[in-house]
Amino acid sequence: MNTCQEPVIHLMHAYLDGDISRQDEQMLQAHLAECPHCREMMDELKMSALFLKSAAPVNAPEGFVSGVMARLPKEKSQAGFQRLLRRHPLVAAAALFLMLMSATLFSSYSNNQQFSFTKQPNLVIEGETVVVPAGEVVKGDLVVRNGNLRIEGEVDGNVTVIRGSKYMASTAVVTGTSEEIDKAFDWLWYKIKSTVKEVFPSSKDEKKEE
């Protein structure tokens, strides 16, 4: 072991890392030229580095990717829909529309189990029956839900009874259309019709004229 080693070894490593100043490199080369011991060591270090670089890259085995995918925690269901949305935007939009549409319609049909009716000033309520008294004129449309309607007077508008029955006395007059809705399908049809009427008010006027 000669005394020159420590600082020179440091320079050797700096050289191997490509992390050496020109001045230091010249110093190192000059030293190596005259010190066979350090020269040998430098060669050995270079050999080790070269030896390592001879290592062939090793590829992951077949099926590595599917192996990883199988180990992943389960995908959130939301992602499946997002993928559908990306691949078939139109189908997805239609599916979403139908889903939401039917969900709101059917839920509003089945959830509205309560007796309710359009508030008009001169109506008389007998239990779950709405009565249009004889001689009275109800101005505007009349809707009764989950209850019965008995008309003895006059209704100046459309009459709709949802899940209930309608009795018309001989004195009854309904200027608009009158209908009874009992099934979900009728309800849907009614809902669509009334939506259309709201959107296109002209069609409503036409109906009145008929």
């Binding site: 992390d19 270090l45 030896f51 290592a55 993928r83």
Partner: protein, 187 residues
């Protein structure tokens, strides 16, 4: 490349698992290679490299997209490898009998990891020898040597992966090279 990776990562964050498959395809060989060199065993390397990808997937929201994805991935993998190596060590005792070998103890199995007689080492093919010499390096030198010479990463990136100061990485590369030189003698 980085742009593509970040795009896929954003899709993964939104919950698209298929996008992660592409990321795995892109990095599988590099990550497997590091694990293979660290552990020296194909089955363990596959297990740990796959586990690294799973951890990356689960923790994808903690990845800082301003940094290199490969650095983050390498960090997960090298940490898992080091854990595995450390756990393996006290796993067996040399004089415990190996199950199913009718009284053979661990001394008879040591050739798989320990030092071999010189003649046997000389008969090895280069690839086998490389793995053997890497396996003999102490853990902390082995990691930097693999990243430096087999993955050919710059020192700064190694420092980022291992979360060690650049100076420490340099010292470890020097010591690792020195250890390698000594253990190989003159080839």
């Amino acid at each position: 490349m980085d742009e593509l990776v970040n795009k896929r990562i954003n899709e993964v964050i939104k919950g698209n698992q298929d996008a992660f498959g592409e990321i795995v395809s892109l990095f599988q060989h590099r990550l497997y290679h590091v694990c293979y060199r660290m552990l020296g065993n194909p089955q363990e390397a596959e297990d740990i490299a796959q586990e690294a990808f799973v951890r990356a997937y689960v923790n994808i929201h903690t990845y800082d997209q301003k940094r290199k994805f490969s650095t983050w991935l390498y960090r997960i993998a090298t940490n898992l490898c080091i854990d595995r190596i450390r756990k393996k060590k006290p796993d067996f005792y040399l004089d415990a009998t190996v199950p199913g070998t009718d009284g053979l103890n661990m001394y008879s199995q040591i050739s798989a990891t320990g030092d071999l007689p010189e003649e046997e080492v000389e008969r090895m093919e280069t690839q086998e020898r490389v793995q053997y010499e890497i396996g003999r390096l102490p853990d902390k030198y082995r990691t930097v040597i693999i990243l430096r010479y087999l993955e050919e990463l710059p020192l700064q990136e190694i420092s980022d992966i291992l979360e060690l100061p650049l100076g420490t990485v340099k010292t470890r590369v020097h010591r690792g090279r020195e250890a390698l030189r000594k253990q190989m003698g003159n080839m």
